[in-house]
């Protein structure tokens, strides 16, 4: 099945987010942990700046969670640059086992999902999942030189500078990862690289539908359903697509790309990039969950899986979306936290536990010694 429901309690212990100067002026500015004023981070190149950003994110996240680097078992993450250099080069400095992932802008959800499964199966205790993007390095890889005086079409999106790191752990906190859904690669034949939102919307629609069906939940059960970086146009298209499937996305639906920038900043359809959902999740969403404002959150990071070569050769854009469901845990009743959830889910969870109990044993025996 596409959806994996967690058998044990896996928590997001802490999150850390950092964004660039432009994002730091947006509506979420008070939620970010750190706003960078100089987006070169005093490095010589933008690629170096991006890897510094990622390194800073991880170190600060571990620190904020009150852990030491030696407590972390794995670093799971990726980024948008070719051969995910930012992540691997950051991992070079970290001295941690590194699992590099690439799902374009859906990397944050994928890292959380895989990290969560690791912790759930007791392969690891603490995992740091992190990803980030840098506007300038993405721009020079995917589009044109920064100084070229070109006009962007109105459907273009703005790659954000920033990112987030989450500590996935078996240490109880208020935010529990309840289930994850891995998306299928979907291609509806969009080839315009300046219209990624519309290329990714069908993937988001497919993943959300699969998740809701497998969890037996309705849209109204969630306090917020967040897509990664569909942008304004992409979210409108998603709402229409979901309506076709008889799923009505209401007031509780939002898109990270639309949230991160002010309308006055005129970044066309909104933010994009792997750092988009990572920074919004690790600031705004975790903050609201810790306060108990959000009890059940579905984060659907969306990614467009093309490269500049495939685009120039006229191929269409395949996309993917991964979903992570987060649930608020009332710390007063931490032992009975599963009771907080709807009974439906509980019974389903127990069922799946039974089914997977055999599997569970095998994973236990192959547990990685640390």
């Amino acid at each position: 099945m596409q959806t994996y429901k967690f058998k044990n309690n896996v928590y997001i212990l802490e999150g850390f987010s950092m964004v660039g100067p432009l994002e730091g002026k947006g509506p979420l500015k008070d939620y970010f942990d750190y706003i960078i004023q100089d987006d070169t981070l005093k490095e010589k190149t933008f690629e170096k700046a991006e890897r510094k950003l990622l390194l800073d994110l991880i170190i600060n996240a571990v620190d904020k969670a009150g852990l030491k680097m030696t407590d972390i078992d794995f670093f799971i993450g990726g980024d948008l640059l070719n051969q995910i250099v930012s992540s691997s080069f950051a991992a070079r400095e970290l001295n941690l086992p590194f699992i590099g992932l690439y799902s374009a802008c859906a990397t944050m959800a994928e890292s959380l999902a895989i990290g969560g499964i690791f912790v759930d199966n007791k392969i690891a205790k603490n995992i740091v999942a992190s990803t980030c993007t840098h506007f300038s390095s993405a721009e020079r890889q995917y589009r044109f030189p920064l100084e070229l005086g070109n006009q962007r079409p109105p459907t273009a999106q703005w790659t954000i500078t920033g990112g987030g790191a989450s500590i996935i752990s078996n240490i109880p906190s208020k935010i529990r990862i309840n289930a994850v859904t891995f998306g299928k690669v979907i291609d509806y034949g969009i080839s315009d690289v300046n219209n990624m939102g519309c290329a990714m919307a069908p993937a988001a629609s497919s993943t959300i539908k699969a998740h809701l069906e497998n969890m037996d939940l309705k849209v109204s059960d969630y306090d917020i359903i967040l897509t990664g970086d569909l942008g304004k146009l992409g979210s409108e298209v998603l709402i229409d697509l979901m309506e076709h499937e008889n799923i009505i996305l209401g007031q509780n639906y939002s898109d990270c790309g639309c949230m991160i920038y002010d309308k006055t900043e005129r970044v066309f359809m909104g933010g994009s990039g792997a750092g988009c959902s990572a920074s919004v999740l690790n600031s705004y969403v975790l903050y609201k969950m810790k306060k108990g404002d959000f009890k059940r959150v579905l984060l659907v990071s969306t990614g467009a899986l093309m490269s500049t070569t495939t685009s120039q050769q006229g191929d269409t854009i395949p996309s993917i979306a991964h979903a992570v469901e987060l649930v608020y845990v009332d710390s007063n009743k931490s032992n009975a936290n599963s009771n907080n959830n709807s009974k439906k889910v509980k019974s389903k969870l127990n069922k799946s536990n039974k089914i997977k109990s055999n599997k569970h044993k095998t994973t236990k025996s192959s547990k990685i010694e640390k």
């Binding site: 920064l146 100084e147 070229l148 900043e265």
Partner: protein, 125 residues
């Protein structure tokens, strides 16, 4: 012999050419490289059919500054050299006529690339 009319006509004709190009950009999402090539070829065609010279006489800098003028220059150089020097001129004429512009573009780009670094965009327009 500076006349205000030269400036007015340069502004109007140059502006009108860019106006047409912008219509193309909006309608077809054409990229920078393609639009440059397209107007370069238009310039060459104008030159081959002897339309460019009277057009330039009329529009002054409105005809020479747009990339059309660059194309026409290349074509005129090649045609003139072909008539004067024969076969060899076919190959040397075009670049000889436009050497100044190309050389300056390469030279200035190289020098400024050594001096300056690219800066991040401040977002939006």
């Amino acid at each position: 012999m500076i006349s205000i009319w030269d400036y007015v006509i340069s502004f109007l004709v140059g502006g009108f050419i860019c106006f047409l190009a912008q219509i193309l950009v909006i309608r077809t999402k054409i990229t920078t490289a393609r639009i440059l090539v397209l107007f370069l070829i238009i310039g060459m065609i104008l030159e081959v059919f002897n339309i460019y010279a009277p057009f330039k006489e009329f529009a002054k800098a409105g005809a020479t500054v747009p990339i059309i003028g660059f194309g026409a220059n290349l074509a005129r150089g090649a045609i003139m050299a072909a008539k004067e020097e024969g076969i060899i001129g076919i190959f040397t004429g075009g670049l000889t006529a436009s050497a100044g512009g190309i050389a300056m573009a390469i030279f200035a780009s190289f020098i400024f690339a050594l001096i300056f670094s690219s800066k991040s965009k401040r977002g939006g327009h």
